[in-house]
C-alpha cells in the first residue's frame, strides 16, 4: 500500500481518512481524496494544468491542512482538479513541489474550507501514517 482513503460519517460535513506507507504518501493520498470529493471523473477534461507550490506552516498537522487549503484555492481559481503532487521538499513545516491536474467542466461539491478540526497525524500500530480531515461543505 502506498496510500488509501475513505469517507467517514459526519452529521453535516465530510470527513476523509487517509492511511499511507510514508508521510509523503499521506500528503499524496489527502490530495487525491480531496479531489474525489470535488469532482466526478466524467466532468474532468483532457486539458492538463500544473502549478508550483511552496507552503510554510506552524507544524506538520497544520502543514497538511494549509497544503490542502492552497490546493483548494487553486482549484477554485483555475477551475481545475488537482490529483497528483510531485514533492520536491517535505519537512514538518514546509512542503514544496508541483501539483498536477486537469481542468473540469463542473464541480461535484463545493468545499468551503479544509478545517484544522481535530487533525492529528499519527503512525498507527500497523506502522501506517494516518490522518482524518474534516471539510466544511
Amino acid at each position: 500500500m502506498s496510500y488509501q482513503f475513505s469517507i467517514l460519517e459526519h452529521p453535516a460535513d465530510i470527513k476523509l481518512k487517509i492511511l499511507a506507507s510514508t508521510k509523503e504518501d499521506l500528503f499524496k493520498g489527502a490530495l487525491e481524496g480531496m479531489a474525489s470529493i470535488i469532482a466526478d471523473s466524467q466532468d474532468i477534461t483532457k486539458e492538463p494544468i500544473e502549478k508550483t507550490i511552496e507552503i510554510f506552516s506552524l507544524e506538520e498537522n497544520t502543514l497538511l491542512i494549509d497544503f490542502l487549503s492552497e490546493v483548494l484555492t487553486q482549484t477554485d481559481i483555475c477551475n481545475s482538479v488537482f490529483l497528483e503532487i510531485e514533492i520536491k521538499e517535505l519537512t514538518n513545516q514546509k512542503i514544496a513541489g508541483k501539483i498536477k491536474g486537469w481542468k473540469v467542466k463542473r464541480f461535484k461539491e463545493e468545499i468551503k474550507a479544509v478545517t484544522y478540526h481535530g487533525v492529528n497525524i499519527i503512525k498507527n500500530k500497523q506502522g501506517f501514517w494516518e490522518a482524518i480531515i474534516l471539510f466544511d461543505v
Binding site: 453535516a12 465530510i14 463542473r106 474550507a113 478545517t115 466544511d136
Partner: protein
C-alpha cells in the same frame, strides 16, 4: 463522553452548563431547546459550546440555538458576545461562509395566478442564477470592480442600477458595513470572487419560489407586506469562495498570533485575537468587506431573478425586498450587561440577529413591530418569517438559522434515490430544478431535523415570534 446530567434546567426551553463543569470556563453555557431537542443534540456540539466559553472577554454566556450541531471550533448555532475593546474576535466564530444569509422577495401574485407559469419561471431562474459550480457567471469582474463591491456592498450595486432604493433600506446594515476595507482582503480571495458575484454555490444554498401557507399575526404580516397564498422568493447563499478564502486567511493569521497574546484555547479552530490588536482590526475590516461581498451576491441574484420573473410574466411585475439578514457574522452592538450599556462584538455562527421593535438598527418601516427574521427550511419543507421581540434580550436578540442536519450527506446518498425524491416532491406539487442528483439527495428533507419543531421551540423560548409559514412551490439549485 459528555454527561448530559450535568446540564441544569432553567425552564422548559432553556438549559445551562454551569462554570463548575470545567475549570477553563469563563462563563456558563446556555442552550435554548426543548427537552427532546436537547436529547437529540450531539455531545460534540455541546463540548464545542463549552469550549467557546473559554474565549477571552466573553460576557454572560456562550449560547446555543435550538438548531445547534457540531462544526469546527464553535458549534453551528452558537452565539458569543465579547466586550470591547479588549475582548477577542474570532474568524472561526463567524464561520467559513462569512455573511451566509437569506433574503425574501415579495410578489403581488397569489399561488393560483402563478401556477400556470411556474415551470417556465423555474427554468428561467435556473438559467439566470447559476450555482457557480459549472459554467459560472460568464462575467469575470476586474479586481478593481471587486474592490468597489467589497467596500460599497449592495449599496454600491444599487447606485449602479442593479436594484431599487428599497433594496438598500430593507437590508441589514443597508447592505454595506462601513468598516469594510478591501485592502485587508487577500488577492487570492479577490481572485476567487471574480466570477462568483450572482451565483448560489452548492450544499443547502438555494433559490425557492414559495407561497405564504399560513399567517400567524395579521397585523405584523400587513406591515411586512405578507398575505395568505402570496407568492414569494427566498434566496439563501453567502460570500462564496471569496469569503471562504478570507476566513481561511485570517484563521491562519490568528493561529499564529494567539501565543503572542497569551491566549490559551482547547481547539485550534477557536483561534482568536484581541479586537483592538492590529490582527483583530485587520480581520474585522476584511470580514466586513466579505460581508459586503455576500450582500452584493444576493443583490445581483435578485437582479437576475427579477429579469427572469419579468421575462416570463410582465415588465410591470415587481419583486420587492422584505428583508435580507445574515446568519454568519460578527458585529459591534450595544447591549445591557449587568444594568449597564456595553459595546460588544457579537459573533453569530449559524444564528440570526432578531432585533425588537424600536431598535435603531432596523428599517423605519418595521420600527413599530420589530426586525423581520428569515429562516430557511430545507428542500420540500417549510420556511418561516419571524419577528424579533424584547424577550430575546438574554440571547443578545438572536434566533436560529434553519433546521440543522440530522443525517450525514453520506447516509442520505445511501438512503434516498434521486428519482424517488423528485417524485415525492412532485406529488406535493413542488418543481425541482437541480443539476446534480447527488446534491439533491444530500439535501433530502428527511436528512434534516423537523423545522416546525425548531420554530415551535424558538417561539416558546421567547427568542422570536412566528409571523408566516412559507412552503415551497419550486426549488431551484442553479445550473
Amino acid at each position: 463522553m459528555f454527561n448530559k446530567f450535568q446540564i441544569s434546567k432553567i425552564n422548559d426551553y432553556l438549559w445551562e452548563i454551569p462554570r463548575s463543569f470545567r475549570n477553563d470556563m469563563r462563563v456558563p453555557a446556555r442552550i435554548y431547546a426543548s427537552e427532546k431537542l436537547l436529547q437529540e443534540t450531539e455531545d460534540e456540539a455541546l463540548i464545542q459550546l463549552v469550549n467557546t466559553t473559554t474565549m477571552p472577554g466573553i460576557v454572560k454566556y456562550a449560547i446555543a440555538m435550538p438548531d445547534i450541531h457540531s462544526g469546527y471550533g464553535p458549534p453551528i448555532g452558537g452565539v458569543g458576545a465579547m466586550k470591547l475593546p479588549s475582548g477577542v474576535i474570532s474568524p472561526g466564530f463567524v464561520g467559513y461562509d462569512e455573511n451566509c444569509g437569506c433574503r425574501l422577495l415579495l410578489s403581488n401574485y397569489q399561488e393560483q395566478e402563478i401556477r400556470p407559469y411556474l415551470a417556465k419561471l423555474a427554468t428561467e431562474i435556473q438559467k439566470e442564477v447559476p450555482s457557480g459550480l459549472g459554467r459560472g457567471r460568464q462575467i469575470k469582474l476586474s479586481i478593481e470592480q471587486i474592490n468597489r463591491i467589497l467596500n460599497g456592498g449592495a449599496k454600491y450595486l444599487v447606485e449602479k442600477g442593479y436594484g431599487e432604493k428599497e433594496d438598500v433600506e430593507n437590508c441589514e446594515s443597508q447592505g454595506q458595513i462601513e468598516t469594510a476595507d478591501a485592502s485587508c482582503v487577500s488577492d487570492l480571495a479577490k481572485r476567487r470572487g471574480q466570477d462568483q458575484v450572482g451565483t448560489l454555490g452548492s450544499g443547502n444554498h438555494f433559490t425557492e419560489i414559495q407561497k405564504v401557507a399560513e399567517i400567524f399575526d395579521e397585523e405584523t404580516a400587513k406591515v411586512f407586506g405578507l398575505f395568505k397564498d402570496q407568492v414569494v422568493i427566498m434566496i439563501h447563499t453567502g460570500s462564496r469562495g471569496l469569503g471562504h478564502q478570507n476566513c481561511t486567511d485570517y484563521l491562519r493569521l490568528a493561529m499564529k498570533a494567539v501565543s503572542k497574546y497569551g491566549i490559551k484555547l482547547p481547539d485550534r479552530e477557536l483561534a482568536c485575537v484581541p479586537f483592538n490588536s492590529p490582527e483583530g482590526q485587520k480581520f474585522f475590516k476584511a470580514m466586513s468587506a466579505a460581508c459586503n461581498f455576500a450582500w452584493s451576491n444576493r443583490q445581483m441574484i435578485s437582479y437576475y431573478l427579477r429579469q427572469a420573473w419579468q421575462k416570463v410574466l410582465s415588465q410591470k411585475t415587481k419583486l420587492s425586498l422584505l428583508y435580507d439578514v445574515a446568519h454568519n457574522i460578527a458585529k459591534i452592538e450595544e447591549h445591557q450587561i449587568e444594568g449597564k450599556k456595553m459595546k460588544l462584538i457579537v459573533h453569530r455562527k449559524g444564528a440570526t440577529r432578531a432585533f425588537p421593535p424600536g431598535h435603531p438598527e432596523i428599517p423605519e418601516k418595521y420600527h413599530s413591530v420589530g426586525q423581520p427574521v428569515i429562516i430557511p427550511g430545507t428542500m420540500g419543507t417549510a420556511s418561516y418569517v419571524l419577528v424579533g421581540t424584547e424577550k430575546s434580550k438574554d440571547a443578545f436578540y438572536t434566533v436560529c438559522h434553519g433546521s440543522g442536519r440530522a443525517m450525514s450527506r453520506h447516509a442520505a446518498i445511501k438512503k434516498f434515490a434521486p428519482s424517488e425524491l423528485i417524485k415525492q416532491l412532485e406529488q406535493k406539487g413542488i418543481i425541482v430544478k437541480c443539476q446534480s442528483p447527488k446534491g439533491l439527495v444530500e439535501e433530502a428533507p428527511q436528512a434534516y431535523k423537523n423545522i416546525d419543531e425548531i420554530i415551535e421551540t424558538v417561539e416558546k423560548a421567547g427568542l422570536s415570534q412566528k409571523i408566516a409559514k412559507l412552503v415551497p412551490l419550486a426549488v431551484i439549485k442553479g445550473e
